[in-house]
Structure formats: C-alpha cells, structure tokens
Symmetry: C2
Subunit: 114 residues, 2 copies
C-alpha cells in the first residue's frame, strides 16, 4: 500500500501535460460555407471537459499540404483519454471528421508538468 | 506618401504574428551523446533576435515518425525572414541540421496580431 501511495503521490505532484495537435486539409473549397460550418463544429470541441488552451489556426507554410491546425492541451494522459472517449468527440469524429477531412497528421508533445 | 504611411500604420497596429514549427527525427540513437549535443545546439537558436516563445519538446504520438518538435513565434513576416537569414541560423542549417536530421516537417501557423 505504501508503494502504491508513493507512486500516486508522485504522479500528482509532477504530472506530464500533453499538447495535442492536428494539422489537416478539408475536402471543401477554401472560403466555402461548408468549410466555415466545419470550423464552427471544431470550435465546439473546446467545450469538452479537460481541454485547455484550445487554438484553431490557419496553416500558411508552402512546405506541407495542410490548411489548418488545431492545438489543445491536457493536464495528463487521463484527461486526454477522457477527451478521446467523450461522446461529443466520438460523434464529431464519426459524423464530421471522417467524412469532411481530406488528409491530416496528428502530433503530440510532452510538456513540463504544471 | 499618405497612402504609404497608412499601410505602414495598419501593419503596425494589426501585425500577423507567426508560429513556426518543425517536427523532426535525428539520425542519432535515442539517448545518445550525439543526440544531446544536437539538442543543445538547437536551444541556442532561441538567442537569435526576433525569436519568441521558443519551445523544444518530445514528440510522443505513435501516429507519426517524428521524435522532437520545435516551436517559436515571430511578431511578423519580417522578423521571421530576419531569423531565416541570420548567420547563426544559416550556419546551424548547413553544419548540423542538414547532416544530422533524418526527416522533418515544417508547419507555420498564422496567429492573431499581438
């Protein structure tokens, strides 16, 4: 019991937070109403519990094929897992992401504990 | 003259800042002295004028092939160009980046003006 307590205590005092990032390209034409509708739907992911420092940005480098980027941070892996499994996120991926995104790349960074 | 002044004035009051990002994989084995030496050299890029919010992070997603990520921000395209052309950056790319990096992807985000 004492060893288990020690491990939990360490995890609480020095958690590893995570910056989750996705760069993506939509099937919709740039500037279209469909594009704006999709971006509005993405913005609602910010409301899922555990999401911090949400940012949706234009990707402007000519050195890759993506048009947008999304970043968000989680206090720890548990919060990240809860987001992934949240019904709103699952529904978004099934109903919108899977149908309207032409290509994407996921990137996750380990951040110092907060 | 008055039109030129107006344009300069607008650029100053509403600049578009840029978050420059590179994800990369080194030729060196993970945890090696060569890896650490390269990461130490990267950290010095933070000293180049115009670089803001410099971050060097471990990339931990299994969904891409990269091991590290570097982000930095510039107040505007001019500051970004100055960084790219700075002798320390040019020397770093020629002497280290080109020789020790196995693969990389550059991503640039447009941020709201500061």
């Amino acid at each position: 019991m004492s060893i288990l307590f020690c491990q939990v205590s360490m995890a609480r005092t020095n958690p590893t937070s995570i910056r989750h990032m996705v760069v993506f390209k939509l099937k919709h034409p740039a500037g279209s109403a469909e594009e704006q509708k999709f971006l509005n739907a993405i913005m609602k992911l910010d409301e899922i519990p555990g999401v911090e420092n949400f940012e949706l940005m234009k990707q402007i480098s000519k050195k890759n094929k993506f048009d947008f980027g999304l970043t968000m941070e989680f206090a720890n892996q548990h919060a990240y897992d809860q987001y992934n499994n949240h019904p709103d996120h699952v529904a978004f991926v099934q109903n919108l992401w899977g149908k309207e995104v032409a290509d994407f790349l996921e990137i996750d960074f380990e951040l110092p504990g907060k």
